[in-house]
């Protein structure tokens, strides 16, 4: 036999054994069944850091204006009290100056007599 005959013999067309296609399909189906599905982990809201961050942000945002308002009211009250004390102090000053002036006038009249 020549070399060409050997090659031709080796590359000859052969039919698959009986049931080959069914076996391949069955194997493919089995592999598909085994393939793991991706796991979806669902965490409760209270275990999500992002949820906490959002809640904290909302709380702070709600508290800041209230706190600022309270601070402003207190500062206004403090200023009002300081202003009231200032008026009182200046009234007392005016009265004392007036009294001193009267004493001086009285003393100078007595001197003149």
């Amino acid at each position: 036999m020549s070399f060409e005959d050997d090659v031709r013999h080796s590359l000859r067309r052969e039919s698959p054994p009986e049931g080959f296609a069914a076996k391949v399909l069955a194997r493919a189906a089995a592999l598909e069944a085994v393939k793991p599905t991706p796991k979806v982990v669902v965490m409760p809201v209270w275990r999500r850091p992002a949820a906490w961050a959002i809640a904290a942000g909302v709380t702070v945002a709600a508290l800041i204006p209230a706190g600022m308002n309270e601070y402003r009211v207190r500062q206004e009250a403090k200023a009002a009290d300081a202003a009231r004390q200032l008026v009182l102090a200046l009234d007392i000053t005016r009265i004392q100056l007036q009294k001193t002036k009267e004493k001086l006038q009285k003393a100078s009249k007595q001197h003149a007599l």
């Binding site: 200023a79 009290d81 202003a83 102090a89 000053t93 004392q96 100056l97 001193t100």
Partner: protein, 185 residues
């Protein structure tokens, strides 16, 4: 070193009250409940100036802004001799120092009034102090700042301060709910 720290520690409160510790005068009022104590300095004075109403003119606001400290101690007693004249001596000793000068001293029937000024350049005053001692009343006034002699008279009056009572009530009592409106017939 410890002595230096102690001196600085003692000096700081005095510096904060413009050179004299006015709480030293509080013992004058040990025998009375009829007292007025005013201590306004630094930030409190600025706050008071900021609170002056719109009706206050620019001059008044400028005067108040130029104040550095306002201290008042005023005590009234039910009987004669309920305070010690000697308790005023620390203040008198302080006012004898430096450039302070006594411009008025009036004595009459057991009553004594003194006015001290601290002159500044340009005919202005850096401070005014008044000591008034009567048998049943003693008053100390101390105003520090850059003042013209006529400024004190200008400052008297309401200074355009809005109704303080309403503001204080707003703080003390929670706002009452508005009464339901009665339907008009």
């Amino acid at each position: 070193m410890k002595k230096l720290i102690a001196v600085i520690a003692l000096a700081l409160p005095l510096a904060a009250q413009d050179g004299f510790d006015f709480s030293r005068l509080d013992k004058l009022g040990a025998n009375t409940d009829n007292k007025v104590t005013v201590t306004l300095d630094g930030d409190l004075l600025k706050m008071a100036a900021g609170f002056l109403g719109d009706s206050s003119d620019a001059d008044t606001k400028a005067i108040v802004n130029s104040l550095k400290g306002v201290y008042i101690r005023s005590f009234k007693f039910k009987q004669d001799g309920m305070y010690h004249e000697a308790d005023l001596e620390p203040l008198r000793a302080y006012l004898k120092q430096g450039r302070w000068s006594r411009i008025v001293e009036a004595r009459e029937d057991g009553e004594n009034a003194e006015i001290y000024i601290l002159p500044e350049t340009g005919g202005r005053l850096a401070g005014v102090a008044i000591i008034s001692a009567e048998p049943r009343e003693v008053t100390v006034v101390y105003i520090a700042g850059s003042l013209k002699p006529e400024d004190v008279a200008k400052m008297s009056g309401s200074l355009g301060i809005p109704d303080l009572g309403r503001q204080r009530n707003r703080l003390r009592a929670p706002e009452k709910k508005a009464a339901p409106k009665q339907e008009e017939d």
